[in-house]
Amino acid sequence: MKFSDETEARLQRLMASCPPGNKRSALVPMLLFIQDEVGAITPEVIQEVCSRLEVSPLEVEEVVSYYSMLRRKPAGRYHLQICTNISCMLVGGAELFEHACRKLGIGHQGVTEDGLFSLEEVECIGACCWGPALQVNYDYYHNVTPEAFDRLIEQLRRNHSGRSEP
């Protein structure tokens, strides 16, 4: 597989960080970095990783099924991850998640029909003092009220249509 220069450089740095004879050490981050570009861990990705790291497909499958950020199917363009764990729960995280479900018409791990948004209820993301918290892909949003959530969705929609105009 061919990746962008940026991803390829990242993968090279990663492999250089493994001690001699321990190529497999790169496996978890490599899968995540490739997923960020490709969108999901596809059979081609597994094959690619196997040949780069000299591991068996089974060993990769085991790892893919273990880590919650690795997925077989692509998420939406904007993957919304809302924390409902205890600190966020105390300040309205669960209600925010339910609001998001209604607003987008999808549930946990759902993707909107246009592929623009996907939703996931996640465990603590390290933003406990600034809840309710969510991540859009890797970007953090703190103290998110339902109104702020609606504004965020509109803004992401606008960004997207702005981008796809010729």
Partner: protein
């Protein structure tokens, strides 16, 4: 994420650079005594570095509070194998968000702490194992590593000392269990995060089967000030056997949630009422989890206590990762317990039966309770399942789930009884699926 000004009660040691312009840059770091502790460490005998850390009474900030100097002393001096330094930046304990700030605002402090550890034990490479969600911090750390290399603090023959050392970031991909030190090492080696049998401990057989120092991010960040100003100065900031300051993340029902650096032994009630601005809306305090979700909950009347490892243990809970979760009188304790146990059931790696089954049962029974379908005998069943898990699981995650579960039914039995016989949750009109 930072309040514009620190609270007057704060003692700024690890966070002293946080509010400087470009605090993450090496220029700011160097202008504020950055890498001076490492330069000093290069002139010290390795044993003396460890001795200084022992004197500081620094105890691990990842949760267990193990004395850091003692841990370093377990690494064999002579070893035919290479040695490694691993920073635990997995920060997954609910209620904990302080390592994130350290890496965002002062990444060089982490690098310098790891360098000093490397000098003390003779390590040749270091890994920062960081949770996958913290991608932006990987960029910040990689930049800091590059800066440090350009300034000659990393690489070969560092500052002409003959010491070689490299630091790499290594991303996780979503797993709380990978914060457990041996599961982390498995993940670092490209495997599922299933823990290893201990002993051997990482100090003798860690990363790639080699002697390894593994510490929390905040633990490493405390090392430069200890070396620079002496272990005793750090020790004196805290209470006996609990040296220094600690970053407390105060979340939940307070007026000013945030991460505050306070001396070890700071009173918990003062933390809530003074530092964090008191309970939101002038409501009454009901309960506090003192150190992240795996710690037993404290009732409000138990909270007049000094926050150090030993005092909180005497009060029947744990200082853990310093995540102080505050709950006011409107909180449904059944819902809180159900949400926390749902987390542990989700994160159990499934390797051993008491944890895999126990966390699932506890989660199911607690959710059932919160839906108003609890039976009287379930209250005792929760306690019984939790007791049967304690001490019988392969790694501490089992205890981390059982201890809080037990504490909620023991300390808030009346709230469980209020949910019996189809009664709706007294705290909400609609029971939110917990």
């Amino acid at each position: 994420m930072l309040h514009p000004e620190p609270h007057p009660a704060e003692v700024l040691v690890l966070t002293r650079r946080f509010r400087l312009p470009n605090s993450a840059s090496i220029e700011t770091y160097l202008a504020t005594q950055g890498y001076e502790a490492f330069r000093k460490a290069l002139t010290m005998a390795p044993e003396d570095i460890i001795e200084e850390v022992k004197k500081s009474n620094l105890r691990g900030r990842g949760g267990a509070g193990f004395p850091t100097g003692l841990k370093w002393s377990f690494v064999p001096r002579q070893s035919p194998k290479p040695k490694y330094i691993v920073a635990n930046a997995d920060e997954g304990e609910p209620g904990t968000c302080k390592d994130r700030l350290l890496m965002q605002y002062d990444p060089h402090a982490l690098l310098e702490g790891m360098l000093i550890a490397a000098r003390a034990v003779g390590a040749s490479a270091g890994y920062i194992y960081i949770r996958g969600e913290y991608r932006y911090l990987i960029e910040i750390l990689d930049r800091a590593i590059e800066e440090a290399r350009q300034h000659g603090f990393l690489g070969r023959n560092i500052l002409g000392s003959g010491m070689d050392f490299e630091i790499y970031t290594h991303s996780g991909a979503g797993s709380y269990e990978c914060g457990e030190e041996t599961a982390l090492l498995e993940s670092l080696e490209g495997k599922r995060g299933v823990p290893r049998l201990r002993p051997p401990f990482p100090a003798t057989s860690g990363a790639f089967g080699c002697p390894t120092v593994l510490n929390n991010v905040e633990t490493f960040c405390a090392v430069p000030p200890i070396i620079l100003h002496g272990g005793l100065a750090f020790a004196n900031l805290g209470t006996p056997k609990n040296g220094g300051t600690r970053l407390f993340a105060i979340s939940g029902h307070v007026n000013r949630p945030g991460v505050y650096e306070l001396p070890m032994g700071f009173n918990l009630l003062r933390m809530i009422h003074e530092v964090a601005g008191g309970v939101r809306g002038g409501r009454k305090l009901k309960a506090v989890i003192p150190g992240g979700s795996s710690c037993p909950v404290l009732r409000a009347e138990e909270c007049d206590l000094p926050m150090d490892f030993d005092s909180v243990a005497r009060a029947g809970s744990m200082l853990g990762s310093g995540g102080v979760i505050v709950m006011d009188e409107t909180t449904c304790m059944v819902r809180a317990a159900a949400r926390i146990l749902r987390f542990y059931a989700h994160e159990s790696c499934g390797f051993c039966t008491p944890c895999r089954e126990g966390t699932r049962w506890l989660s199911q029974i607690l959710s059932r309770f919160h839906r108003g379908e609890g039976r009287r005998e379930d209250i005792d069943l929760i306690a019984e399942i939790a007791r049967n898990m304690l001490g019988r699981t392969f790694c501490p995650l089992g205890d981390a789930a059982a201890m809080p579960a037990l504490s909620y039914v023991q300390k808030f039995r009346e709230e469980f009884e209020a949910h019996l016989e189809g009664k709706p949750c007294p705290y909400e009109e609609v029971a939110v699926h917990a």
